[in-house]
Symmetry: C2
Subunit: 157 residues, 2 copies
């Protein structure tokens, strides 16, 4: 585990991602939020899953945060904070653009590509936040068809 | 190599992706195009890289085509056709959503994650189209800084 002062900082960043997730839940959407944090600790962009809100299947939370940050010359020093383990799509985003650190709220309800990212040199911190896990668990139980659509396992239902 | 009647079909689909790429080039953008094809051969969505046009770094061609197709229950039987080997981000998209086939115009000027997709059961067809390669080659020579920004190697310049 990282030093406790780092963990405090990561938990603070996770607060921004969790706010996005709750806003998405309250809109009837998939409750996953994310933020891209600059090397200086400022939020470059934040966003939430917008599949339902925009009818946009590409609008996973990490992609929404990355998009909100706009064009960047590079991603050295940045951190992607997300309430849930990133799927292959958003893990590919992190690897392609050289985002060096990912902070994951929880990976209990779904485990995507974060181990793969760690194997490829990304610093991965899983906070195992009970609030994030409870929000996802409630969502998956209430809207399984929407959840499976969002992670591409809809047709297997 | 696939049977020649399949190759003819793939080349026809590539035409749609190449039209998108040329439109992007003519707009001053990154000249990469893609289309998501349904199991019945109809175009579900098509798009082009829109980094420059929309200031959107997530708008890689495959993501743009996937987005244009809107919400789908599943991706069984679909094909992603793209003028260029998909980067890790767009390869992750294909894997996450279970798109079973990728047709790649060319992988000479850039090789992304198509071998990784093949290892994970995706049918990958590389057409090695000289027109696609020539268009990318001219772009990379003319706008290297934009190209490196688009694939996340900008800071390494």
């Amino acid at each position: 585990m990282p030093a406790s002062e780092d963990t405090d900082r990561y938990r603070q960043w996770l607060t921004a991602a969790a706010e996005e997730a709750r806003a998405g839940r309250d809109e009837g959407g998939v409750p996953i939020g994310a933020a891209l944090i600059g090397g200086d600790g400022r939020v470059l962009g934040r966003g939430r899953n917008r599949r339902v809100q925009d009818g946009d299947p590409s609008a996973h939370a990490e992609t929404a945060a990355f998009r909100a940050a706009g064009r960047q010359r590079g991603y050295a020093g940045t951190t992607m904070v997300t309430t849930l383990s990133p799927c292959w799509y958003c893990s590919g985003l992190v690897r392609q653009f050289g985002i060096p650190r990912v902070v994951v709220g929880e990976a209990r309800t779904y485990s995507g590509g974060h181990d793969w990212l760690a194997e490829h040199g990304v610093e991965v911190v899983v906070l195992d936040d009970p609030g994030c896990a409870a929000m996802m668990d409630a969502f998956v139980r209430a809207r399984p068809e929407l959840w499976h659509e969002d992670i591409g396992s809809g047709a297997a239902e």
